[in-house]
Symmetry: C2
């Protein structure tokens, strides 16, 4: 990474950002801090993702994004990172913290596979659903306990198999079944009422709200919220604060011991089981397999993406203004590439993550999805 | 419609637009014309579509749009309408012109159902595929002649039925099979080589290019183009010129007799068979069924939408910047509503077209897709 790269981590406490205070001072994005570069001024322009076809750019997606370190320093930003956005499934890693911290995971003899599944938005493939089923059995949960709803598996082959066998999908096929297993396991361990665990006021969700406040450094009491696809609350949080929480997973040095231990276990499970996080053909799985543990990524609905780069102690968060998944993927890849966390040889194995070919129904390549000009480069 | 409505058709030749020349003078959007209000100045801001969840606007889509009459007067515009966009499937009505004009439709004893299917992006439901199959039989075409590729039907129930029966989808299930039947029928009627009819240089596509030039008033020689999902060329045309072509379907008075007759037949078929144009649960079908023939609509991929309002002699074209179908639908509904072509009682039967509820996996309403402020109102 060149010395004048705006998110060169090595320069963030003495270089162009003029940070005069200590690296890990608990500064939170969006808050003012003396001696800190003013982050409240006009942000850099949003960055865009182009969809081409033949000789035209046919469609354009606008992205907001930032790269933050565990000291809360915003190393790079594009567009508004201070307004609340819904992080959706991109922060399942944070929602898994109580599962570890409460002791529930260990008490039921669960391991890193279950923990990875708790962080996943999986394809509903056999490996995912069988793990969810065995987990439920171990904890003494039944399908009736799950309040996420049934979902046709994302994986087309698995979905077709179900139809062929005349079977309806269940809550285990829901891409969020691991997260819900985590919620239920924690509630069971703490002898809380299971029914209604998806509701905002239930202890499971209130506990997560507290964890989110601490990890993001935000007061979320009264924060805007909505109901997610799987019926749990999704809380409005500034993009910068979401990236900050990811950075604290990358570098938990400022966290209380129990929380530091929990996020370290979560990060290890997340990085060790890329297939469980997504599945066949998914961006998250492909990128993490290529990265060999150097980067943890997680996408969410409506164009939200997060990444954790442990070796650099940084977190990345982005939001596609219009919510498009195709743009979230190449945008996240472009940002990660700029950090040099993967070698170019690693990227060469997954070129479709940086520039996604568009194929027509006859299988011909007719265009592509790519980061437009103005993006950071490696 | 109030007198100061910016797209009040009745005022377009003497009202605020200061049009001093005759109504039907062949002026084309994007071209200069003396005595005409200057349309090259800064356009009104793009209009947006909001996606809400709980108390936040979660995602935003930007739209460009215009309303044009058959004299080429731009009655209302939002954003850039002069740069080329790919009209995709939204102008299948124009691509069907040679099928009628060449005499092919009549020569093979085909009727308005086949003509509607030529204008459709259908769901691949039984009624669509059976009509495509019978059409092919009547003309002496086989599946091998079709170069659109096979496609899993858009209609989920039909797609599941295929899987259950262990059948693969065919070209008849391709949403464009009617359009391709039209191409093949015209080629057969004119004794042209069928093979390669999807290629830019084939007489079928060149003939359509000529029709598009005449209908849009644009020189399309050298225009940007790409390959569509069904392998045919899609030509870059300014949004204003696409709306102009739609207006000329609404009011063909300036067209040569044979072309006027062709577009009149096409418009009649398009309006008479809403189900053939889309199918169960589709926006185009639902809107046209509600409109009872007063409005013809057609969506295309990547957020393109067109409408024809015969009684008012106007055409509408819009493009969602990011290509989202959910935004194209409510945007097109909002623009059509502003023309008062449907009564409020008619809209009351299809409220989901104006504001689309977002349901989560448990079926709860968690948000909506709606036109943001700044849109024209009825």
């Amino acid at each position: 990474m060149s010395p004048d790269n705006p998110h060169d981590h090595s320069s963030c406490c003495g270089g162009e950002h003029h940070h005069s205070d200590s690296h890990h001072d608990g500064h939170r994005p969006g808050e003012s801090a003396e001696g800190r570069a003013d982050l409240s001024g006009p942000a850099e322009s949003p960055i865009t993702v182009e969809v081409t076809r033949g000789s035209l750019v046919e469609s354009v997606h606008r992205a907001r994004a930032c790269i933050v370190d565990a000291g809360g320093h915003v190393l790079a930003r594009w567009g508004d990172i201070d307004s609340p956005i819904y992080p959706r499934s991109a922060i399942k890693s944070l929602q898994a913290i109580p599962l570890v911290e409460s002791g529930a995971l260990d008490a039921f003899g669960l391991g890193d596979e279950e923990l990875a599944l708790a962080c996943s938005s999986h394809n509903g493939e056999a490996r995912h659903t069988e793990l969810a089923r065995s987990w439920a059995g171990r904890v003494g949960l039944t399908l009736d306990d799950y309040e996420c709803g049934a979902q046709i598996p994302y994986d087309p082959a698995t979905a077709e198999d179900l139809v062929r066998r005349g079977e309806a999908p269940t809550a285990f096929h829901n891409n969020c079944s691991g997260k819900h297993s985590g919620f239920l396991t924690t509630a069971k361990h703490r002898a809380e009422r299971l029914k209604g665990y998806v509701r905002y006021e239930h202890p499971v969700q209130q506990r997560i709200l507290g964890v989110m406040e601490q990890m993001t450094g935000q007061d979320l009491f009264g924060a805007p919220w909505g109901v997610d696809g799987c019926s749990i609350p999704t809380i409005g949080i500034p993009l910068g604060a979401i990236a900050y929480a990811m950075a604290r997973i990358a570098d938990p040095v400022d966290l209380p011991d129990a929380r530091a231990e929990a996020v370290t276990r979560i990060a290890a499970a997340w990085g060790k089981h890329p297939f469980l996080i997504g599945g066949t053909g998914t961006f998250d799985t492909a990128l993490m397999e290529a990265a060999g543990g150097a980067v943890l990524v997680k996408g969410g609905a409506e164009g939200v993406g997060c990444a954790v780069i442990p070796e650099q102690g940084i977190g990345i968060a982005l939001k596609i203004e219009d919510g498009a998944a195709r743009a979230r993927e190449v945008a996240l890849a472009a940002l990660i590439r700029s950090t040099q966390a993967l070698t170019e040889a690693q990227w060469a194995r997954v070129p479709q993550l940086l520039t996604t070919p568009l194929l027509n129904r006859a299988g011909a390549r007719v265009g592509e999805v790519r980061a437009a000009g103005g993006w950071p480069s490696a």
